[in-house]
């Protein structure tokens, strides 16, 4: 009987989106290409299948093996084109953009599809402020509903404190736990334990994001240092990093960094994440030594961002399930 509950294979052959949305996707791609052509940003293509993988413990990759040779080789479907694009930047490509697929295991839901489309671009010489500006301009081009709307820019600390009532940088785990009780989130304690970063993710997802639903376009910047990922720490305040996220009506659309260029620090972050993965019993990763080598050669001062194009299409078309903007959603792929 339990087996029956699992058996949900949907054998319908047809697409999961309408023909209008297929056309809308093509239009949006054309607008993106025109936007960057006008700004002399080069369109590039990098491998989807790579010999190395990302190390982030919260992002799970798909792994496959090439068995054609004598020695079996592990290959990874990219979770983002970031490393390959940075290697192009280190090879003096200048500003570049890419529209491509990325793959993340276990991410399926109303706003997630394990295979999804990213627009990722890097601007040589841009600081984060300039990239935020450009991101807003692109979004207004692609989402007519944002025309004449003000772009709100708020530090992470302020938006978190407003919604949750505690300071994300200074609060103790006990403070977070008390806040979770106030918002009737009884499972928070057992899920987050003593891990500050998980507490921040939990409270941001469950308390802050629902508040942002009423805001047309908001950029949240100065993320806490423990959530720096591949961003630089801020020069004059090491408790925060040069990272921002874009939300349209509370939906997370993109994540931008002033890129970390220091190979020693990059290597240290990789090792720290690899240690985390080991602690949690997550699949082993192959560290991208070629990225480290590229940073040693020298990554230009640049800022970069990835935008989720499927979610952007959801907003544009006014639908509330990601499969409605995909030719064939994950359940039908």
């Amino acid at each position: 009987m339990l087996g029956d509950q699992r058996n949900n294979s949907d054998l319908f052959w047809g697409p999961s989106c309408s023909l209008e949305i297929l056309q809308l996707r093509a239009q949006v791609y054309a607008s993106i290409r025109a936007f960057f052509k006008h700004r002399c940003v080069l369109e590039v293509e990098t491998p989807l299948l790579s010999q190395a993988s990302g190390t982030e413990p919260t992002i799970q990759f798909f792994e496959t093996h090439d068995q054609s040779g004598l020695k079996q080789q592990a290959l990874f479907l990219q979770t983002s084109p970031e490393f390959a694009m940075k290697r192009l930047l280190a090879a003096s490509s200048g500003s570049i953009f890419q529209l491509c697929k990325a793959f993340r295991q276990g991410e399926v839901g109303r706003f997630h599809n394990s295979e999804f489309t990213l627009l990722e671009w890097y601007r040589v010489g841009f600081d984060l402020e300039a990239l935020m500006e450009e991101t807003a301009e692109l979004l207004v081009t692609l989402l007519p509903s944002l025309a004449n709307q003000k772009t709100l820019k708020v530090p992470y600390k302020a938006v978190f404190k407003d919604a949750v009532g505690v300071d994300p940088l200074l609060a103790s785990v006990t403070d977070f736990s008390a806040a979770a009780d106030r918002f009737e989130l009884p499972d928070a304690k057992s899920i987050c334990g003593q891990d500050r970063s998980t507490w921040l993710d939990f409270l941001f997802s469950c308390v802050v994001q629902p508040v942002l639903v009423n805001t047309p376009l908001v950029m949240v910047y100065d993320y806490p240092a423990c959530q720096a990922s591949l961003a630089r720490l801020k020069r004059d305040d090491k408790t925060v990093c040069e990272r921002f996220e874009v939300f349209v009506k509370g939906i997370e659309l993109g994540n931008g960094f002033l890129e970390l260029t220091d190979p020693v620090e990059q290597n240290r972050r990789f090792d720290r994440e690899i240690a985390h993965r080991q602690q949690r019993g997550l699949p082993a990763v192959v560290k991208d030594q070629r990225l480290i080598a590229a940073l040693e050669k020298g990554l230009p001062h640049c800022s970069g961002i990835a935008l989720g194009i499927d979610r952007l299409l959801m907003l544009r078309a006014g639908v509330d399930d990601i499969s409605e903007v995909l030719s064939f959603g994950f359940g039908r792929a």
Binding site: Q5, G106, G109, R110, H112, D187, S197, D201, S205, Q227
Partner: protein, 189 residues
């Protein structure tokens, strides 16, 4: 012990939560691009009927509840237990008053209802959507009134009370919608 990962959560899945059998109503996968994934789930406790919201860490595993729904024929009530039978196998089950809940005011011998079993014990009973019952008590109607406007209370053979039109009389068989507890019409029989 069978279990499910949060990745398998979807509407209708039965799980054990705080020792009670529950049914998932809806599951929302939540994940910041760079952060920890969670499942925010709306769940109905099948014992109490209460709906609660819970959050799970993604890919956490949760014990599966052995809950099945089977069509059974109601046989009789012995005063303490209500007895049911699976028509195909003649297998019999007895349910107590708690499991019967609101269903007990609608059931007549031979009615086919949905019995929810948890670990092979009746957990709840869903009566047929429509039942036909005889009126045992109601005020005499006004002669010539066939409009049905206004209405009056009528007690049925099972003890249930429904509002019926004024022209309907004692001894008549009527059709009732058990989901709303409403009179539908006189039975054709």
């Amino acid at each position: 012990m069978a279990s499910y990962s949060t990745n398998e959560f979807k509407g209708g899945l039965k799980i054990i939560l705080d020792n009670d059998p529950c049914s998932i109503i809806e599951n929302e996968f939540v994940k910041p691009g760079k952060g920890q994934a969670f499942s925010r789930v709306k769940i109905r406790n099948l014992k109490t009927g209460r709906v609660i919201e819970r959050t799970f860490k993604s890919s956490e595993s949760v014990e599966a509840a052995d809950v099945v729904e089977i069509e059974m024929q109601f046989l009789y009530n012995d005063g303490e237990f209500w007895h049911f039978m699976v028509p195909d196998t003649f297998e019999q089950y007895s349910a107590d008053e708690k499991a019967l809940g609101d269903a007990k005011i609608w059931l007549k011998d031979q009615d086919v209802c949905t019995v929810t079993l948890w670990n092979d014990q009746p957990l709840s009973i869903t009566p047929p959507n429509f039942v036909e019952l005889t009126i045992t008590e109601t005020d005499p109607g006004l002669k010539g009134d066939t409009s049905g406007g206004g209405g009056k209370p009528a007690t049925l053979e099972t003890g249930a009370v429904v509002r019926v039109p004024l022209f309907v009389q004692i001894g008549e068989l009527i059709k009732v919608d058990t989901r709303k507890g409403e009179y539908v019409g006189r039975s054709k029989e």
